[in-house]
Structure formats: structure tokens, C-alpha cells
Symmetry: D2
Subunit: 460 residues, 4 copies
Amino acid sequence: MSYDLVIKGGEVVSSSGSFKADVAIVHEKIAAVGLELEGRHTVDAAGKLVLPGALDVHTHFQLPFCGTVSADDFFTGSRAAAMGGVTTFIDFAIQSRPASVMQTIEARKAEADPRVCVDYSLHAGITDWNEDRVAEMPDIFAAGIPTFKMFMIYKSEGWQSTDADIYCAVREADRYGGMVGLHAENDDLINLFQAEAEQEGRRGMYVHALTRPPVTETEAISRAIQIAEAAGGALYIFHMSTGRAADILKEARARGVDVQAETCPQYLLLDDQLFKRPDGPHFGTCPPIRKPWDQQRLWERLEDGTVEVVSTDTCTFNSQQKKMWQGDYRKTPFGMPGIETMLPLTYTKGVVEGRLDLGQMVAILSENPARVFGMWPRKGTISPGSDADIVIFDPRLEVTISHRHLATNCDYSPFEGMVCKGWPTTTMVRGRIVVENRQFVGEAGYGRFIERHPVRSPRA
Amino acid sequence: MSYDLVIKGGEVVSSSGSFKADVAIVHEKIAAVGLELEGRHTVDAAGKLVLPGALDVHTHFQLPFCGTVSADDFFTGSRAAAMGGVTTFIDFAIQSRPASVMQTIEARKAEADPRVCVDYSLHAGITDWNEDRVAEMPDIFAAGIPTFKMFMIYKSEGWQSTDADIYCAVREADRYGGMVGLHAENDDLINLFQAEAEQEGRRGMYVHALTRPPVTETEAISRAIQIAEAAGGALYIFHMSTGRAADILKEARARGVDVQAETCPQYLLLDDQLFKRPDGPHFGTCPPIRKPWDQQRLWERLEDGTVEVVSTDTCTFNSQQKKMWQGDYRKTPFGMPGIETMLPLTYTKGVVEGRLDLGQMVAILSENPARVFGMWPRKGTISPGSDADIVIFDPRLEVTISHRHLATNCDYSPFEGMVCKGWPTTTMVRGRIVVENRQFVGEAGYGRFIERHPVRSPRA
Amino acid sequence: MSYDLVIKGGEVVSSSGSFKADVAIVHEKIAAVGLELEGRHTVDAAGKLVLPGALDVHTHFQLPFCGTVSADDFFTGSRAAAMGGVTTFIDFAIQSRPASVMQTIEARKAEADPRVCVDYSLHAGITDWNEDRVAEMPDIFAAGIPTFKMFMIYKSEGWQSTDADIYCAVREADRYGGMVGLHAENDDLINLFQAEAEQEGRRGMYVHALTRPPVTETEAISRAIQIAEAAGGALYIFHMSTGRAADILKEARARGVDVQAETCPQYLLLDDQLFKRPDGPHFGTCPPIRKPWDQQRLWERLEDGTVEVVSTDTCTFNSQQKKMWQGDYRKTPFGMPGIETMLPLTYTKGVVEGRLDLGQMVAILSENPARVFGMWPRKGTISPGSDADIVIFDPRLEVTISHRHLATNCDYSPFEGMVCKGWPTTTMVRGRIVVENRQFVGEAGYGRFIERHPVRSPRA
Amino acid sequence: MSYDLVIKGGEVVSSSGSFKADVAIVHEKIAAVGLELEGRHTVDAAGKLVLPGALDVHTHFQLPFCGTVSADDFFTGSRAAAMGGVTTFIDFAIQSRPASVMQTIEARKAEADPRVCVDYSLHAGITDWNEDRVAEMPDIFAAGIPTFKMFMIYKSEGWQSTDADIYCAVREADRYGGMVGLHAENDDLINLFQAEAEQEGRRGMYVHALTRPPVTETEAISRAIQIAEAAGGALYIFHMSTGRAADILKEARARGVDVQAETCPQYLLLDDQLFKRPDGPHFGTCPPIRKPWDQQRLWERLEDGTVEVVSTDTCTFNSQQKKMWQGDYRKTPFGMPGIETMLPLTYTKGVVEGRLDLGQMVAILSENPARVFGMWPRKGTISPGSDADIVIFDPRLEVTISHRHLATNCDYSPFEGMVCKGWPTTTMVRGRIVVENRQFVGEAGYGRFIERHPVRSPRA
């Protein structure tokens, strides 16, 4: 058989381990993994790792938020993805009432489709759980979206869901084999701490951390777990930030609750003392970055399989936008770039520093997210028949992170100055090379919306 | 020395164990525990147990609720207490806005003082946490009330507290060495389940259990524990009903959270199949009675010291009042009599049936509640200098529970027909015999309000 | 490229999951996994599973034991392996003093090499830990044997090792990246129970179970774990049979001890009531088969990853040999056939009955044993460059187990009558088909001794 | 009633708490605990604590060991006990074959009776478990000795018991309601480590700690627990020294094993760096003193009730005797004085420093040992009818420990220089004052052998 393209001589990695092999591609698919394969075109991967493209299941490109719009749009964002070895991302279609979820999805796809350079999907963000949502749920699944996002905070933005809403949504989603993901923080307590800070006139950036102490996350996660357990459906926790929450998750999974969680590089690598720097607002996210012992515990829970996914929660605001904070932490646009550095940072801090092995990294960045979110085995693995989403990663490249060399539309990186021992050099999406030798060669509109399948057996 | 009264020849019990001794009383106090003591009067206790009077830290006498008033007023209620070996109870002064807590306490004392036959105290029920409550807190402590009650449900009654209210109250109470107790149920979920039942036209009494599944309690307790842990103060859980909650409590205490809890005989002995009987509404309480496996687990947690207190949540509604339910479980006046049967039931089902030893029973019914609620060592122990609150308990009396022989103002008992292997025959409050040979010989107004001391070291 | 052979159209399975693909072979190796591969020869696998050959890391072929020799020699045993989808086994070279371990290995290889039909390796069985063993250890590793077997029992056979021996061996093996495996039973207690039974004149087959109660295993495993933990090396537990031991293992692994374990189909599927049957001796093994609740717990620990390997402990004694017991359980030759039924039974009772998924089965039978015992990625996976050890498994074949259709040299099967929902039809070892359409087409002497690499990083 | 003696005005302490009361004594017994009691004699305890005399359940007075005899004989040892507030001790009658246990008990009583100044009992030390031991067991119980001591080490001394011996002894003792206590160390591993040290020529005192690493204790305790669990009887662990063992104990008790343990002040307060001092041999005991983190964990397990007893393992060797070590740690007579300092050290390091409350201290030093060893309520409590074994303890006395002021026959104290915030001033045994104002006023031969009752219900 004659192959379109063969990636030759690399070390192919899966969660089981790695072996030296060529990878052959025909059109958009992986056609073979083997020895001495030949094709019309060849990419040399000798001395390099050949990884399934990473998935970032948590991005917010061109998101209107805090009176501005996140700085990475679907083009610059997905270009950054490609540059960082991410071949599929999942963004959000967050319902803005009175629009229905389906209308929001369509609108969001219309924004994304002409701009995306890699493949993508959407989570359906529900902000007003009611009979209309129940009614359109079959349509949402039919549209290839089996996962939902709800917020336990953001009451003033009109996004907050009640405990009862979450219970109902988990139960309803379970009928179709879906899963509800949550932004889990306790609104009531955060408001209290913010009001107290206000009374005392404290508004500095570090107050962001002080007014969202661990309990504001751990309580909400603990509550969500119990609600989902009672509702009998699957739960996903977005951007888990504290070590204690990871312990709660471990206990819940051990007793059989169907709950999964992600954490993000910022929670694994940064700590809240950064808020005290002049550029503190650059590090502002919700939930906030935490303490070194939280990092430590999160790594442990990644290593033991409790936390199955690393994502980025990319929501880029550049330094100009961050200035909106004007000395008041509450006005900070919360979010940061990250999709581009997820893979090299996880490799360096995880694999090179001995916290994970290569197979675990591929599980966490590719296999698990694909499986958890209904894209397996189309995405997340280098197997015949899968989409040819492949990253060639050079473990000998040493790269010091700087916004100057990054493709994201941002004039800083929260990981500025960190030294990565390895970097992706080539990225391929459905058989097409979109990054070559660290140069972007893709094009807006090449990426496709991926229809996902249910993540559990429908109850029916 | 010449004693006023000596109880002779009984087996005196403390949490450490028991020994044969006489107990001598001078005026209101225990003067001595010893051998061959002599006094001007003598009570023969040969062959009997001599116990410190039990404390019931959870009663609702003459409580206006559901458009009626609980049927046991302070007289009949405290008479029933005396008959059942309870020498001190703690009722509630639940603030009815716009009255202050202090005003409510005064009003409640005015109702109680002329009627009580045994000693009593009050928990301060707070229903609108705000600056006024902060301001009057020193006065409440000065009035001898170091414990508070807040409700996580009863929004429509205007009683509900938010997470932030609870956080603030726990923190504020801790300044003075106080403790916040909670009615812990998840309002939002209960409303959901009730609304769903309503949609389906289900209103029978068993629906009460179905609309308050375990998660409605366990989630609220779990949340409260985390809030109190973060606030850094002491927490008390009223009427814990589920086995899972008891496990959550055990885990929290093991990791160092300052939380204590009570359960009640109805949760230890009854199960929710009773709701299906014609007299189902008689068994209606909040939270509802549960499953046999919950009973089992609660006994285990009493035995291992996780649950430190048994109380009754006595809130008597007679069968006439219970008729208000008219086929709709939501209209049932929730509550039942119980103070009179707590001690003999705990003895029979706990000690005789081998779940507890005698010392554990005295700990659970007398020593622990006195200590937990700031009355130790004045109450709860047969020690020199303590109030002479003493029960002579005959372990050879076999009594089948029937409302006909009970002193409570109620025409049924939820424990009707249960056979008790032992019953209190004599009850003494501050040196005065108020029950003699199972006859009430006390009088309204003899009981006194007991000023309690802080339950923790004040922070200041 | 032209392939020697292509397995076409099957569902290729790895621990990550499965996908439809062809598998191409060149000479002894897998050359490619891909779509529409073509070769000079073709094997049709449409509708079938294509599995990496199973490994059985625990066999005793032609073992002199109890005055006889196990009935499956290296030929019939490895033929049965092939028929059952096992492409590599690990037998034992158990040192018989005064022979050295190296001499024993050489002798054992000489027995095996001309007879084996599939690939094999040996564990080095050490029965007299001393300076000579320390001295020859480098040679043993150089010979491709990084794993050792020691016995905590069999004192009279001269095989028993002391706690100190085990400590030293674990520590010494760790220097070279090796691992000590144990037969873990408490000799002293077994002797006691046997002596007591003897005093009472009880010798029936069920007494075998009674004289080896769970504590005789769990104590020994617990002790071994603590010794290995202190010695700082890796430990392997052979033929773990009790649920309690699996719990001990789970706890030990959670606190970081480097310990792994296997269980066997007889412990997962049989219970000790079988000893009461007339053919009870057929089921006699050491340790004995256990209770249904042990089975249940072992399955749970397989499912959660605590137990990583299933092996068979095949040590065939036919019914004639079993007659040696003559009414005295102690004279029973302990052992049974099993290598041939391991894969179909694990598939049926594990995958079909929902206890494991397909990927977990492949992990337990192929990937894990290859990795744990130093043969990864040469064995245990269908990846380019790996040995072409492949099983085509037909999930639609329903086979009722009977010794009549089995290749093992035994006139009964302990699993007689069990219905398997699926059976291997074709087995390939290093590219050569040795079983075709359930017919053995291999030949004695084709199998090779596989030199294994260290299982941990040498300490150097 | 006229009392012989009244202790007036002190704070009487039990495990439940404390209260101000007088304690009246008639002849040997406590006659009353009360207010304003009057007697022919009076002891003023104003401002002092009135404690039940402590029990030390682990002493070795005038023990032949290591070719010498422990320096405190029954007179000087029991005098030290009295001075330190210990009113009852339990020593050992360790069978020296071929003598029977009963013969040993009689011989040991003959040594003790004329010399003891406080009450005492004996554990029956069994060194050759066999049918003779089974036969004499009823006699041992009849002699008032329900507890046994066996050794897992000391093979060369002829004291070692096998696993089977322990199993049988636990089972047999259980028939009569008895309990087996163990010196739990792994002989085989200790011998290994000692032999290795010898090979390397290391014999310094610190080598004692190095050759008995934690595993030598934790493995043995873990093994003993499993054996006792299987045998179905009660187990006691003497002189537990490691934090890990305390965790093992906690886990075992939580799953229902009937096991209890003691630790000693040397394990709570000293660490193994002391071995490096010139007087290192003074600190030599078996097991050895450990690390600061072991101390920490042992205190935690005392606080949470896992470890119920503190004893001393007093086995005094003076500095002259310690010289026997002559530079070889193995020749050190292992043991140290301690009975005299147990109470003030536990008070100071436990109560004053906030690790225990007063009630817990009384539980650990008096109530629990009396209960655990079959002397409750005769010993261990200030209750009417109990023996008048009472200590008046002055919490305002500050005493710096020095052998110069101690009554023990030893020229050093392992706790030399520690400052105690409180010290016993008066000790009373069965109504007779034996220490008055820190002066010994007792007499040899006053103490009595206490016949103990079974510690569990006999199985019969």
C-alpha cells in the first residue's frame, strides 16, 4: 500500500509505553503504525517522540467577559494550540439568556468555524435550568455535544445554578449518557469574604487569594459530588485547584461515585505569592492559584490516577486588559493564556522531573480527555483508523518560556522564564501538517467541529 | 456530719464504671458518695442503679409551629422529663424577628419559669444574622447561654441561615467560647423533591421520607462541617439521622474538626416503613426516620464515641394535631413526644441488648451533654458538690410502653408497645424528690434556669 | 513493503482500548499495525479479537514433587499453553542443594529447550541463601533472569527461607534491579494446625483448607511486605488466595511499598466446598482455594489495579497421581492444570460478566506480566518491533470446558463444565502459527528461552 | 459516721473530670467522697490534686539478667514506686525451665512478699509452651493471675516462643478470660543486623538502635496481632516504641481485633541520639528508644485512645552494672529505672504541655491499667469501696529530676535534668500513708499480692 505520508523513526508513545515505529497516514487518518513504512512524503522523527496530539478540554477563546473579550480569538487561540501540540480543544457555548442552548451552540460554531486551525468541540453551558433545557437536551446530544457546564457561582452574571438545578441536570444528562461539569466554588462564602475585605478597605491583588480560601472550593466540590451521587449521574470538576479537593475526590471515587476532575498547569506550577508582585493581576484566575502544598498534592493525585485530566482553562487577557483591575482585585479580568505551554510544561515538570512517566503523560493529555469527553478512539491515540492528530516532540530542545516566542495573542506568559526540556516541533491535524519546525503553517478554517458521542451508556 | 438525705445501697454509675455506695445530699447538692452514710431521711436503692439525672439537650415545649402549639407545655413536658429520669433539659428561644435574641430569651424564660418542674436552659435560636446579633452576643453569654441554633432550612418560615451567616456565627461565637448548633438539611434539594412529588400528585406520608433522602442531610452536614472548620470554631449537629452522616462526622473528627453531634431514639429505633401505617403522621419528624442500616450505623458510632449525645427533639403533637396533615405530608406538624422514654429505651436497647455498656450510657445521656453544653460538673455526674440530680433506676422493672401510663400530654407514643427492661422509679432534682415510686410529686415552678458557662476557652 | 503475513480485519486490543486494524508480520516480529495491509500470507480475523499472547508467569512443568513428577512436561505443558493463547511462560529453576542456582538454571534449560513449543523463561528458586548465592547473583542476571523465588514454607523439603534470608535476598536483588517473589505461608502455624488435626484423627481433604486458614497466608504476606519495605527492594507475591491479603496489599501499595502480586483462576473461581467432593484432591493446591467472599474481593482488587497479574501456578497431577493421597490430605500432590484455560476463563468470568473491561484483561494477562517480569515491550503487546506473539480469539465460540478437548496431559480439569463465551482459535509465537483453528500445529523445540532485563533500575 | 482519716480540700480526679471534695477512709478502703467530711485524722490537700494511685504494670525488680541482677529489689523498687505515686505494680514470674509456672510464681512471691512496700501482682511468664502449661493454667488463674507474658525474642536465653506457641497460648488463655502479653520483636532480623554489624566491627552503643530498626518491632507486632485475631483471644503489647506500630494498632482495633498496648516514658520523651553520649549505655533498653517522630506519634495515639496504658518497664541497672557493656552494645544490661518518675513526667509532658487532659492522664495511669489487668474497681479509682490507694499531687512543686533526690537504687536517671511541674507529696496504700511530704514512711512487707480477676468473660 502506498501511504500519503510517513513519520519515520520516532518513538511512538501510548499510555502503555513506547516503541520505535513509523506512522503512516492516508488522507486524514492514521493508516498504520509499523516498521519501515514508506509513503509519498516523509517526515523524519528520528530521536524524537511521536505523541498523539494533546487535547485541551477547557478553553475560552474570544469570550466576552468582564466588559472585554478574551484576547485569543478562535484563530490566535487555535494557532497557539497547534504550536503547543494541542490538536483538539473544547471551548464553551455558554447560554446567554434568553437564547436557548442550541442557539448559543450554533452562534458559537459560527464564530469558531471560519477561524479554527485545529479541531474543536464545545461544552454546552447552561445558565437557566428549566423545562426548555430539558426539551432541547436531545437536540444537544444529536449535535454531538454530550457534556455540559454549569456554574455554582457568578450569580450577578446570571450564570449561577442552584443545587437543585445541578441535581436535575445531572439526572437528565445521564438519560442520554451525558455528563455535567461544574465550576465549583461557594458563592455565598466568597461574597462574605469579599464584603469583609471591602469593609476593611483591602483591594490588592493578594486579596483575591484571601477571599477565596480553600474552603470555597472544597465545600463546593464536596457538595457537587454528593448531589451527583444522589442523582445517579456522572460529574466532572473543572479546574480543581486545591490538594484537599483532590483528596475528597479520591475518597469519593473509592466509594464508587462517578466523578472525574481536571487540574491545570497554573495550579500545578504557580503559587499565590505571585499575587504580591507588581504584575500580580496577570496571575488572576478563578479559582486562584494556591500554595506549594496544593501543587504537591495535585501532582500526587495525578500520579495515582485520581485526577485524570490536565487542561488549561485558557482565557487570555493581555496586560492592557489586565489593567482594568485598577488596584481592585475584583475588577481583574480573570484568566490567562496557557494552551501553548501545557504539553512542554507537563513533560518537563512531570516526566523529566520524575513525577509522571511518559505513558502517564499521554494518558493525562491525550487518551483520558478523549475518552472522558466522548472522542475516543477518534482522538487521543496513535492507532490505525484514528484521526492523524500527531505531535513530534523533541526532548532535546531546551526552551525558556517567553511571550516573545509564543503564538498566543498575549504580551506575557504566566510561566515566563521557566525552562522546558523539550518542545513540540511538528503538529499534524487530520493528516495535515499545521506546525512544521516550530513554524505555524496552518490556516484558519481548517479545523473542524468534532461531533462527540455519549460518554456513558444512555439510560433509556 | 449529718446529711439531709441518703440514698442507700444502690449501684452508683459513672462513665468510668459502677460501684456500690450511698449518696448523701445536703440541701440541693451532693455532699458525699460513700459507704454507710447516714442522714435524716433515707431512700432505699438496694438492687437499683443510681444514675446522674439524664439531660435532654433538645426539646421544643409549647412551641408555636405549623399553626398550632406543641402539646407539651413547659409543665407537662418537664413533668414527663422527671418521670423519665431527665433532670435538665435545654429548650430553644428561637428569635422571631424583629425581636432580638435577648428579648426572645427573656420572653421564653417568662413562659418557662412558672411551669418547669425540673431544671432547664435554652439555646439561642438565631434567624437573622446581622450586626445586631453580633452586638448582643456578649449579653447572651452573660445570660448563661453559650450555644446557638441556626437552621439551614425553613426559608419560608424566615428561619433559614446562609452559609455565610453560619460561617460568621461560628466565628463570632468562638470569640466567647460558644458553639453553633445546626438543623442541617439542604433546603434547595428538599424543595425540588417536594415539587416533583407535587407534580406527580403524590402526597402520602411516606412521601415525607422520599422527598428527604439521605443526601438532603448528609450534604448539609458535610457543608456545615467544612464551614465551621474554615471558621475555626465549634459546631454541633442536631438530630443526626443517617448512618452516612455519622461516617462523615467520624472522618471529620479524625482530621481534627471541632464538631459534635447528637442522634435521637427515633433514629436509633424506628424505620421509615412506619410512614405507611395509618398512623404514619405520628412518626413525622424533620429529618425523617430512616432505614434499619442507618440505625445500625448510628449505634456503631455511639459505641465508638463518634456521636457523643442522645437527645429527643421532643416536640409533641397529639393525634388531634397530627390530623392537620389531611392527607398531605407537608401539612403534618413534625414532631413527637420522647423525653419520657429516652432513658429506659437507651438502657434496654443499648445496655441490655449489648450495644453499649452502662458507663457509655451514662456518658451519652448525662456526662457528655453536661460537658458539651457547659453545665459540667454541676450537672451530669454524681460527685460531691454537684447538683443532687439523681435517678434511681430499677433494672428489674419490665414496662411495656403505652401512652396510657406516660405523663406526656399525648395520646400515643411512637415507641408504643416496646418492652423496656428497667425503668426509673425515683427522680431527684437539686435534692428534692420530684418522682417517687413512679408517681410525680414535683411542682410547677420548682425548676430553675441554669446559667451555663462557655463550652470552649474564649478566644480573646 | 511486502509483509510475510497479515492478520486481517480483527479488533486489535491493548490496555488502552481496541480498534479495528490489520497486523503485519515480518519474520518473527510485528512489522505494522494498520489499515489495509497486505502480505504474502493472510489470516482472516474478521469478527475476532486480536490479542497480544498471554503470559503465564507461574508454571511448574515436569516438576519432581511429592515423590512423583508433575504430569505436564515442557512439551505437553507448552502445547497446552499454545492451545490456550499463552505464548510465553515462566517456570522455575529451584535450586536443589548442593547445586548452585546457575547449575540448576542450566539443567532446567536443558530439560526445557528441546521440548518447549512456546517461549519461556525461568525464575531462579533459591533455597539456601548464603554467600555463594550472593556471589553468583551477577551471573544469574547476566543469564537473563532478574526474578527469584523463595519459600516461607517447605522446611522439610529444605526449601524454606528465614526472614533474614528474605531480607538479604531482597536487598541484594535490588542492587541489580531484580525482584524476589515469595510463596508466602506461615509454616509454624500450618504445622500446628496439622498436628492438631492429626491428634484428632482428621485427615480428609477438607482438612487441607482447615489447616491453612487465611491467617497462614495473610500473616506471611504482611510479614514479607514489611521485610521488603525495610530492605528497600521489590517484592512479588505468588498465588495470593485471600481477600484479606489483597486488602493488605492495597494498603501497602498506597503507603508506597514496592510490592506486586498475582492471583490465579482457581482462587477467583473455585471455593473450598469442592474439597468435600469425592474428587476433592483434584482441587488441592497450596495455598488452598478459599471462600466465595475471597473470590469477590480478589476480583475487586484486580479491577482497581491492586493485583496486577493473573497466572496459573500450573502444576499438573493427573487423577492417578492424585490417588497418592490415600485418604490423607497431606499426601496429596498439590497442584492442578490451568495454563490452557486461563485466557478463556478470564475473558468469560471477567469481561463477559462485567468485572473487567477488555483493556484490563489485556493488561492483566499480557502487558503487566511482561512489564513486571522484564520482557516489555518485546512481549505482551501488539506493537511494531515486538515479537509477533498473537492470539486470535473468537468471542462467539461457546466452549464447555472438558479435559476431553484439552491438550494438557491430565484426565480432568478443575474447571470442568464451566461454559466459556469465547476461545482462542489461532496462536502465533514469534510469527509462526502454532495453533490454527484450535489445532496444535507447533513443534517441540521451537520455543526459546527469553533473556529478561532487570525489572527496576539497578542500584549501582 | 466517724472516719479513720479524711483527705480534705483537694481536687479529686477521675477520667470523667475533677471536682473539689474530701476523701474519707476507713481501714483500708475509701469510705466516702464528699464535702466537709470529718475523721479522726486529717490530711490537708488544699490546692492539690487527689489522684487514684498510679499502676505500673511492667516492672522487673531484682531480675537476674545478663549475668547480674537488676539493682532495684522489691524493697527499693517498691519504695521508689511509692515515692513516685505508684501504689500497685505488676512484676513478672518468668518461668525458668524446668520449673513450672506455678512454682515460679510461688518463688517470686516469696521474694517479693517480705520486701514490697506497695501492692503488687505478677504476670506469668511462659517460656516453654507445652501440655504442662495447658495443665497448670487453671491453677494460675486460681492464683489470681490472668495475664501472661511471652517473648518473641531471646532464643538463646531459652525464652522465645514460636508463632504456634503464641497462637495456642492466646487461645488457651481465652478459655479462662485471660490475656497474653508479648515482647514483640523479630529475632531473626535482629540477629541478621547484629551479625552484619559484627562483620563490620561496629559495636558502639548507637549500633543498638541501628540493629533494631523499626521493622524489627512493627513486623512482630503486626504478626502477633494477626495470630491473636485468628486465635480469637485478647492480646497485649508490652513496651511499644514506634509510631508505625501505634498506627498498626489503631488499624487493628478499628477492624475489631481485641488488642491493647502500652508505651513507656522513655519512648515518649527520649530519642536515640542519646546513645551517642558517653553515658549512652544508660539509655539502653529493648526495644531501643526511637526518633522524635515516634514520640510524636505515640503521644497522638495516647491522646486518641489507641494506646491505653503507660507503664515503665523499670529494670534498673546502675552505672556500675552498665559498665559491663565494655564497648560492646550487646553486653549492655538493657533496662533503666523509671517507676518513680512516671507520674510527674506524664503530668508535666502530657497535661501541662497540653497533650492530654487530667482525666486522660488518670485513665492512662490508673483506670485503664486497673481495668485492663483485672483489678478494677478495687484499684485505679477513688470510689467508695475501692482500696484507699491515693496520691496527693502538688501541681505547684517544681522539681528538676536528679538521681540524688530519687529513691530508686540507681546513680543516674535517664530523665536527669528534666523539670517537672508538679510532684506527688503523699502516697497512701490501702489507707496507710507510705509517703508523707515526700518522705518515705512505709515499710517492707506492707504491700500485698493482689489476686486479680479474669480480664475477659471466660469462654467456658
